[in-house]
């Protein structure tokens, strides 16, 4: 992607983030002038940026938002929550557009109707005063679609006629008409409307969305997108379309855009080579008659249904219509390439070339001051005049005395530049005199006199003259300029030097700045250090081999001591890279104010969100995995926790509920507490529900403590909501929250007091790159088990294992622990074998708050590994948390006990 566009996208997203935050602040404190100013600046800058690209839809929406904020700034409009809503949804729409640009480089025309609706909505909020004026402005910036292929679906005759019937000074209008899906029920008849469009020259209808399968097709829903061509007067057209303005967009079409060849494209390449040579030759000599003869001759020879024949006919038609050679040449070159001419590209380059500096004609020496500029292009001459004239206006403006000298010097420097650019070095001396006199007399008058007296002298097109001027005058000018500089320096005195030095020091201090690094680069470093850690782990094996296999203890020791060094560096490197990946939780938290505001509003509740510790840092992946679970928890709190204002008032609580989100770091973990002062969770209700849903048995129902009972909300298949609301009850419950946090090694706890509120505590590792796993032997193969689920390892005699409720169990420290053997978990055919003493190796793990035993063949050491998720076809195997490379190069599969049980 073009770096400028990339820059625009990333800056644009930043701006929208800021705009969203400022809007929320403003909603709270509508008279905050500083925030209004900043907000306006962000929107204004965003609009300015978008103007650099051909993104009219985006520009229009942002422009409408800017107009509104302009009024807010001028105190003509107050920020209401309605206005905030509309502006926020406009920004959401802009984000969608940015996403589209990021994905496809452009904004599809399908966004046009929505954009129009949104802009109309925003404009409807503008106070009456300028509505008319603004509408006119909107018309100018009417975005143009990018897909014009429909033109080729009109017949050639239709288009030729349209072109022939439109005088050169009259516009051809393209209509993009997207009838509303429900239009048939509103008494609208798109086809009838279309057929009566004044000056209709042809139209093309297509499906707005891909057709749904026949048995699902709703024939009463309009699925039409219509493109049409009209040559009518704009006012007449608008009059006709006045009932459906939001469904139709009208664009002015360059006349030559109608020249789109159509027909049988089967050609033998190369056949026309001679013809194109001849045609180019004629065009080059502006021999229009010759060109016509050549085209006619070619047309006589080929089948008129061919694409080429169509292209040639257009060539004649364009010529008949009196288009200039650049249009003809563009058409001819496209035809020679067997391509449909991209007239819109042509149109853009045409208008751009009017502005582009003509490099041939503007030999203004930037590098070498001795080369006098001579010829300026017409465009540059016009610009020269404008700048020159501006200096006169500049001097006419009264100014503060402090700036007087600076203003004089700046005009002097500007005029010096202008004169040199024009090659008029003789006038420089007069300018110098005038400036000097001005300075002595403390009046701009002498300089103004010079400007008045400076006639529009002829530009030195005459080369010899220019050379003479260079030889005789330039040295003097250089001298004068040098002298002037010295004078300026002297005037500046010591103070200036001192301040210059200070400034240099300041900027040196500031040289260390933040680097913006693409995420992939950091991820790659992370991957590399992961490999490095694994590779380094091969050294102890190597040392052992040196000793055992090659019998060199000394070498083994040397390898080991070298390993210690490499190990330390690798660990520091890993630490350093992990630091780079650390993000403040604010990256996630900053979305919450908007979310809480919107949801609370929707529910009719009053909520104050308090965020603390937003600068707490954690690994990027951890932070990212936090987003959805936290949103879910917040929604739950808003939906089920915090009561309606009336209820709260009746309970003697403040009407406004309090929702706080606190982040903090504790050791190598990040703690996040989400606390509300709502109605809390009733353990009795939870117990009953859990029992009804078969999540606990009768015995447990009696024995479970209240604190344990509330944890049941995390059990799969549990939902306490009486009715499913559209906010939190989406069929997913807190169990999804728990499992997605567990995926990154997180844990979640809940405490609640009925009537007082609920607190949910998330605990996450700071970083997920290194995991400590315990290796266990299962059927002769090593598997890893994450150490954070392991409670202990025990050996249990065969005789101590009993069948209880169809499950093997053992009593451990006074508790009944269910035993699972690895052959049933992994569906292998190797049941675990007891050791010589008839004891089984049992790994005791804590899963979902329950203690379970896993019967394995044996235990090995614990190690640090870089855990990588399974990829490709294996990614679906939930029973494995991932794989890790061991120092000897073998692969260790790490079990996900929670999923297995």
């Amino acid at each position: 992607m073009n770096p400028l566009l990339q820059q625009f996208l990333s800056e644009g997203r930043d701006f929208i983030e800021q705009i969203g935050q400022k809007l929320l602040i403003l909603e709270e404190t509508p008279n905050n002038e500083a925030v209004v100013g900043e907000l306006f600046r962000f929107v204004h800058t965003l609009k300015g940026n978008s103007g650099l690209f051909d993104l009219p839809i985006l520009t229009r929406v942002v422009h409408a938002a800017e107009d509104l904020l302009d009024r807010v700034r001028d105190h003509e409009l107050t920020v209401t929550s309605e206005l905030t809503d509309d502006l926020l949804s406009a920004m959401d729409f802009v984000v969608q557009l940015l996403d589209e640009i990021e994905d496809g480089g452009t904004i599809p025309d399908t966004y046009l109707p929505d954009a129009t609706k949104l802009v109309d909505r925003l404009r409807s909020l503008l106070p009456e005063r300028d509505v008319h004026e603004d509408e006119e402005g909107a018309e100018e910036t009417m975005p143009a679609p990018t897909d014009w292929s429909w033109l080729s679906r009109l017949t050639e005759e239709q288009r030729v006629q349209a072109l022939a019937q439109t005088p050169a000074d009259q516009a051809i209008w393209a209509l993009f008409y997207l009838p509303e899906p429900q239009c048939f029920f509103k008494g609208e008849d798109p086809l009838l409307l279309l057929k009566h469009v004044p000056g209709l020259a042809g139209f093309s209808i297509r499906a707005a969305q891909p057709w749904s399968p026949l048995d699902e097709l709703d024939i009463y829903t309009a699925n039409l997108a219509i493109d049409a061509l009209s040559m009518a007067d704009r006012a007449e057209l608008d009059e006709h379309l006045r009932y459906v303005p939001e469904q139709i967009a009208v664009y002015q079409l360059p006349r030559f855009a109608l020249a789109v060849p159509t027909g049988d494209a089967s050609e033998v390449p190369g056949v026309y080579a001679d013809f194109f040579d001849r045609a180019r030759d004629c065009l080059g000599r502006s021999d229009m008659d010759g060109l016509r003869v050549a085209v006619d001759a070619m047309l006589d020879m080929i089948n008129p249904t061919l694409w080429m024949a169509s292209a040639l006919r257009w060539c004649l038609c364009l010529q008949d219509m009196g288009f200039d050679t650049s249009v003809l040449a563009f058409h001819l070159e496209a035809t020679a390439d067997h391509k449909i001419p991209d007239w819109f590209l042509f149109n853009r380059t045409q208008s751009a070339s009017l502005n582009a500096p003509d490099k041939q004609a503007a030999p203004i020496a930037v590098e070498d001051p001795k080369l006098p500029a001579g010829t300026l292009s017409d465009m540059e001459l016009a610009l020269w005049d404008r700048i020159f004239e501006t200096q006169r206006q500049f001097l006419a403006i009264p100014s503060a005395s402090a700036q007087w000298g600076g203003r004089l010097a700046s005009v002097y420097n500007t005029l010096t530049g202008l004169l040199r650019a024009k090659g008029d070095v003789q006038a420089l001396a007069a300018l110098e005199d005038a400036a000097e006199t001005s300075e002595q007399e403390k009046s701009f008058a002498p300089l103004l006199e010079f400007l008045d007296g400076y006639g529009p002298i002829a530009v030195c097109n005459d080369e010899p003259l220019a050379i003479v001027a260079e030889e005789t005058v330039v040295p003097m000018v250089v001298e004068l300029a040098a002298e002037r500089q010295i004078r300026q320096d002297r005037r500046a005195g010591e103070g200036a030097i001192e301040s210059t030095r200070r400034a240099a020091e300041v900027s040196a201090d500031k040289a260390v700045r933040t680097l913006k690094v693409p995420q992939e680069k950091v991820d790659r470093l992370m991957d590399l250090i992961g490999e490095m850690v694994v590779a380094k782990n091969a050294l102890p094996y190597l040392a052992a081999r040196a000793e055992d296999v090659f019998g060199s203890r000394e070498l083994g020791r040397e390898i080991k001591s070298q390993y210690a060094i490499i190990n330390r560096i690798a660990e520091e490197m890993q630490d350093g890279i992990m630091q780079v990946r650390m993000l403040p939780v604010d990256a996630i938290f900053q979305r919450f104010p908007r979310l809480v505001r919107d949801v609370a509003k929707q529910l009719g509740k009053k909520v104050r969100l308090v965020i603390e510790g937003e600068d707490t840092e954690a690994d990027k992946n951890i932070i990212e995995s936090l987003g959805d679970p936290m949103i879910h928890i917040l929604r739950n709190s808003l939906d089920h926790g915090i009561e309606m204002p009336e209820v709260r008032a009746a309970d003697g609580k403040a009407e406004e509920g309090r929702l706080s989100v606190r982040a903090s770091q504790e050791g190598d973990r990040v703690l996040i507490e989400i606390e509300d002062d709502g109605k809390g969770i009733d353990p009795a209700v939870i117990k009953r529900k859990a029992f009804e849903k078969g999540l606990i048995d009768e015995q447990r129902l009696d024995t479970i403590s209240d604190a344990d009972a509330v944890q049941l909300v995390f059990a799969a298949g549990f939902s306490t909501a009486e009715t499913v609301s559209n906010l939190s009850g989406r069929g997913v419950g807190m169990d999804v929250v728990r499992s997605s946090l567990e995926k990154v090694g997180g844990q979640v706890r809940l405490t609640s007091e009925k009537g007082k509120g609920t607190k949910i505590i998330l605990s996450l590792p700071l970083s997920m790159s290194v995991s400590n796993v315990m290796m266990v032997d299962i059927g002769g193969q090593n598997f890893g088990v994450p150490i954070d689920v392991v409670v202990e390892t025990v050996r249990i005699k065969q005789s101590d294992i009993h069948i209880f409720k169809q499950r093997r169990t053992a009593v451990l420290r006074g508790r009944i622990v269910p035993l699972y053997s690895t052959d049933e978990l992994l569906a292998s055919h190797n049941p675990p074998k007891p050791n010589a003493d008839g004891e089984y190796a049992v790994l005791v793990a804590r899963v979902h708050g329950e203690t379970v035993g896993i019967v394995v063949d044996g235990f090995a050491q614990t190690i640090d590994v870089i855990l990588k998720p399974l990829e490709g076809a294996l990614a679906g195997l939930a029973g494995f948390a991932g794989s890790a490379l061991l120092g000897d190069g073998s692969v260790l599969l790490v079990l996900n006990i929670k999923e297995l049980i």
């Binding site: 820059q7 502005n355 203004i364 700046s410």
Partner: protein, 123 residues
């Protein structure tokens, strides 16, 4: 190589103007507001300033007034760039001390030509 200072808070605009001016043979530095621009101007000579209007901390007007009242710095020609096309905005720019005014989005040809015309002098 002649040095130009672009003063604009929008990174996208800075990049856009930088591309145009570098193409036209200028050396380009950037500042994100008036305060940063003044620091730069005090430590290096620029032959042209391209100044945005609306910036945080110190906007374009305030910056130009500040610069025009500093006798010790080279009084480089300044082009003020703004999205506003109205005459009163142009007048305000001149009032503040800009020598020329261009409407954003600037046309590449216009900006590069204006830059060359304004700096035609030998340094």
């Amino acid at each position: 190589m002649k040095q130009v200072l672009i003063i604009d808070d929008a990174a996208t605009v800075r990049m856009y103007h930088r591309q145009i001016l570098e193409e036209a043979g200028f050396g380009v530095d950037e500042a994100i507001n008036g305060i940063e621009a003044i620091e730069k101007i005090l430590s290096k000579k620029y032959e042209l300033l391209v100044v945005d209007v609306n910036m945080p901390k110190m906007n374009g007007y305030a910056f130009l007034q500040e610069i025009r009242s500093k006798a010790e710095v080279y009084q480089a020609p300044a082009i003020m760039v703004s999205t506003e096309a109205e005459e009163r905005d142009r007048q305000a720019a001149l009032q503040a001390g800009a020598n020329f005014y261009l409407v954003k989005p600037t046309k590449p040809g216009e900006l590069s030509s204006a830059a060359r015309l304004l700096t035609g002098s030998a340094s």
